[in-house]
């Protein structure tokens, strides 16, 4: 089984050798094309004249253009196979595909049947290569031959796939509220830390880190670790503590990065202990944040009351150039457009509550933005959403889309209790990312 990561962009390769890049570099890569290439690669050698047929789309969300998506996958896989491979222009069941393979004048040497599914927020492709029985008598006498090659690929649903599905209406999002006993929450992270396929929720307070899940109206803690056991105290902390957390998922369990401005960075496994290979990361006092697939670290400048550098968490060298010299809140995400191109969006709030957004060469600033911040493509339309809070007055959780020319409000949830932290959860049982917010003694799940 192979999980297809979002295309590893050229920028990340360059970053790996230490280059420092701007905050928003576009990368052209279609996730559908990449998925098709992965299928072709995993199948190995296939007969030259293969017929590629896609199944009708199985989807756990409404897919008004499902047949188009399936047919598109068939043609992309055929293109990836090269040679004389050709694609059937409409989806059909396997039995029909077998019949189709020896019908007509262009008889195929083999049929590649691609089962196309959209489930759990993923595009899942299962490809089986079947030989074609040329003799009609053999076809009648014997059972259909089993597949001779197999491939399975899955990839997160992004704007390119979402364009074939029913659109997500953020304006109609519902809020579910859960109580928690973690005390004042400084930061949250959401993702598959256990490696079990579902999302785990991490709450970070000044005193401890709690991993758990939401169930029956409350946050159920599975494991806790005192902050003192995770990171050494910082030489010069910020008087107002700030924390962050980021989960990097893995099939055998992910890694949780957590940091406080008054403690050093820690990288721990699902059991909240530091594996040996991550122990080197537990020294520098910095805040880990995700930037696309990677985790980078924000270095606090306690005397200035913010952060000024974005560095490699392990080596400490410069990693990204922030859009403003001093910022006190940060979020970044790689947003995949409907054309499959990926662009990094960075949001950084300066201490005067002005939010600076960058996307490629484009930039935009908006004032009076609160300190809780997240960027993601929540409706998977290729346009980034900014989740933020209020800088003054009664607090609220605000979701806006960064359209051309400015932020378009999509959702506003009044939060008189004050929003302490926000995070975005990857798609799970439903089809789109969700937002979690710590509001006093409650966790709000917005989806």
């Amino acid at each position: 089984m192979r999980r297809l990561r979002l295309p590893r962009p050229a920028t990340l390769v360059l970053l790996g050798v230490g280059a420092v890049l701007g905050p928003g570099v576009a990368r052209a890569e279609s996730s559908l094309t990449a998925s098709a290439r992965a299928v072709a690669h995993d199948l190995g050698t296939v007969p030259r004249a293969v017929l590629v047929v896609a199944s009708p789309l199985h989807s756990d969300v409404a897919a008004p253009r499902g047949d188009e998506l399936a047919s598109r996958m068939a043609s992309l896989v055929a293109a990836a196979l090269g040679g004389d491979a050709r694609a059937e222009d409409r989806p059909m069941p396997l039995a029909d595909a077998r019949a189709r393979s020896h019908a007509g004048t262009l008889r195929a040497a083999a049929v590649l049947f691609v089962d196309v599914r959209v489930e759990g927020g993923e595009l899942r492709l299962t490809a089986d290569l079947f030989p074609v029985v040329a003799n009609a008598w053999d076809r009648v006498r014997a059972a259909p031959p089993p597949p001779v090659a197999h491939a399975y690929v899955h990839a997160p649903v992004a704007a390119e796939v979402r364009s074939y599905l029913a659109p997500v209406r953020l304006e109609g999002a519902r809020v579910s509220k859960f109580t928690h006993d973690a005390g004042p929450v400084l930061a949250m992270a959401c993702g598959d830390l256990e490696g079990a396929g579902g999302n785990d929720l991490v709450l970070v307070s000044r005193r401890e880190v709690v991993v758990g899940h939401l169930e029956a109206g409350r946050f159920v803690a599975a494991r806790r670790a005192p902050a003192a056991s995770l990171g050494r105290r910082a030489e010069v902390p910020m008087r107002e503590p700030v924390a962050s957390a980021a989960i990097v998922a893995g099939e055998r369990g992910g890694v949780l990065y957590v940091g406080w401005t008054d403690r050093g960075l820690a990288a721990v496994g699902p059991d909240l202990t530091a594996p040996a290979h991550l122990a080197a990361m537990t020294h520098a006092a910095s805040l880990p944040v995700k930037a696309g697939d990677e985790v980078v670290c924000l270095v606090p400048d306690s005397a200035a009351g913010g952060f000024g550098r974005v560095v490699d968490c392990e080596a400490g060298g410069p990693r990204l150039t922030p859009p403003v010299p001093l910022f006190d809140a940060w979020s970044a995400a790689d947003i995949v457009g409907v054309d499959g191109a990926s662009v990094r969006v960075v949001a950084a709030r300066d201490p005067s509550a002005v939010l600076h957004l960058t996307r490629g060469d484009e930039s935009f600033a908006v004032s009076d933005v609160g300190a809780q911040l997240a960027v993601a493509d929540l409706d998977q339309d290729g346009v980034p959403e900014v989740v933020s809070t209020m800088a003054r007055g009664e607090d609220a959780l605000v979701v806006s889309s960064w359209e051309q020319g400015g932020l378009a409000p999509r959702l506003r949830l009044s939060a008189p209790g004050g929003v302490d932290a926000v995070a975005v959860c990857p798609p799970e049982v439903d089809d789109a990312p969700s937002v979690v917010a710590a509001v006093g003694s409650e966790i709000w799940l917005v989806r």
Binding site: R232, P237, E240, A396, V419
Partner: protein
């Protein structure tokens, strides 16, 4: 008829409950504002009727340290409002060792001067605190030794008692060779002199985090009116003991950050037979609270009937550079004097008062005492030590039954010092200037003050 009816005056408990309800209602009615970050910046200024030319965290009678010690200094441990102890300059609580306990210091901590904190600084600070009057209080700590590896080994074995002793502001950690005139510490501010003023700027190396304010300027007030005059005119941001000199500053509200120490009356050898345990406290208890009200002294209990000073005419020594104490001395002298038994205020230099205190060559003296911490034991040991450091050390080891549990005035009945008045941090402020309480629940955490013009964003 109505004269026969008992007055419907609320009891103290009822008044406290009512005040609590009002405060909680006010808090409930207040909308909870957006959670932004606290903006750094701004400058505040105030004048105090106390000397600020030097600040010595280890002195029991240091007024500047009483009010502003937390701005500049940290101890190895800290006590919160619930009494819980947590590491401050130490990495963790003391660890038992074969010879006592060991204390690991936080790595990378620097004083405001940039000098790195070492175990030698801690050892020197403890020795200095002991020499300045904390010998009894530090008794549980035992011998202090810096190991070859630079660690700190203490002879004390009771982890809790060691940590509590080292959590006192009177055991703050300063660099070796510390000079009170050029104070250097790990607190949120770094000190510098500007004329007569003590100017506290943000300490970029602060071990608990640099201050939110850019600067806090503290000037000595020549008299009690100077601070109120400056506050009333808007020149200062805090008014000492009131809302204004001639009339309250418009919109100003009072604040009271709690009891920080005590003004004490001492009896010396020149008091003759009046130099006996309990006399000073009896004299202090006989002063009508109304006589001290203009100094912000609250009447916790009515005056006890007393005949005042009955010894030979004598001088009441007081530090000349402390206008508040001088004013208090005047009020005390008037209250105690009787015909033929006059008490005359004699303002003297701090050094002269110190010498008289050591030799006990005085009749009466008015002084200041800081508690070691907010517990009854902290008050008890401070008062006993202020009378006699040697006896203080002995009594600190074995407090008499009930002695440490009583109020400071009860303790004073055992001593040749008596509590005259509480010393409180109180006065006037504008409503938008919020004064966060100190970590232990009393005083003001000046490092956490947010300038009112820099709202939380």
């Amino acid at each position: 008829m109505s004269a026969d009816r008992p007055a419907l005056r609320p009891t103290r408990r009822q008044a406290l409950v009512a005040a609590g309800v009002l405060v909680s209602q006010a808090l409930l009615a207040r909308p909870i504002l957006a959670r932004g970050r606290i903006a750094l910046g701004g400058r505040l200024s105030l004048r105090v009727p106390w000397p600020v030319a030097a600040i010595d965290p280890h002195r029991l009678d240091d007024a500047a340290a009483l009010f502003f010690g937390l701005c500049l200094f940290d101890s190895l441990y800290a006590v919160d409002a619930s009494g819980a102890i947590s590491p401050a300059l130490a990495e963790s609580l003391p660890e038992p060792s074969p010879t006592g306990v060991s204390v690991a210091l936080r790595e990378g901590v620097r004083f405001a001067s940039g000098k790195r904190l070492t175990a030698r600084d801690v050892s020197a600070s403890i020795a200095r605190a002991r020499a300045s009057g904390a010998n009894g209080w530090l008794d549980p700590v035992g011998a202090v030794r810096v190991t070859r590896s630079g660690a700190l080994a203490l002879g004390g074995r009771a982890v809790d008692r060691v940590a509590r002793a080292l959590a006192s502001p009177l055991t703050a950690i300063v660099p070796e060779g510390f000079a009170p005139e050029r104070p250097d510490g790990t607190g949120p501010f770094a000190a510098r002199r500007q004329g007569d003023a003590l100017v506290l700027g943000r300490n970029r190396f602060a071990a608990q985090g640099p201050s939110f304010l850019d600067e806090l300027s503290i000037s000595p007030a020549a008299d009690l009116g100077a601070s109120l005059r400056a506050f009333e005119s808007g020149e200062d941001d805090l008014g000492w003991l009131g809302l204004g000199l001639h009339e309250p500053r418009r919109g100003a509200v009072p604040f009271d950050a709690g009891l920080l120490g005590w003004a004490i009356l001492r009896t010396g050898d020149q008091a003759g037979r009046w130099n006996a345990p309990g006399v000073a406290q009896r004299l202090a208890d006989g002063i009508e609270p109304a006589r001290l009200a203009h100094l912000g002294v609250r009447a916790d209990s009515p005056a006890q009937p007393d005949d005042g000073w009955g010894g030979a005419p004598t001088a009441l020594l007081v530090r000349a550079d402390s206008p508040w104490l001088v004013e208090l001395a005047r009020a005390v002298a008037v209250a105690l004097s009787r015909p033929g038994h006059e008490v005359t205020v004699s303002p003297v230099a701090a050094a002269e008062l110190g010498a008289a205190r050591s030799s006990r060559a005085y009749g009466l003296a008015l002084d200041l005492v800081r508690p070691f911490d907010q517990t009854p034991l902290g008050a008890y040991v401070a008062l006993v030590t202020s009378e006699d450091p040697v006896r203080g050390a002995q009594l600190a080891r074995r407090p008499p039954l009930g002695g440490a549990a009583g109020t400071p005035r009860v303790t004073g009945r055992l001593l040749r010092v008596g509590v005259v008045a509480d010393v409180r941090l109180q006065g006037g402020r504008m409503p938008d200037l919020v004064l966060p309480p100190g970590p232990s629940g009393v005083g003001v955490d000046f490092g956490a003050i947010v300038h009112p013009r820099l709202r939380v964003l």
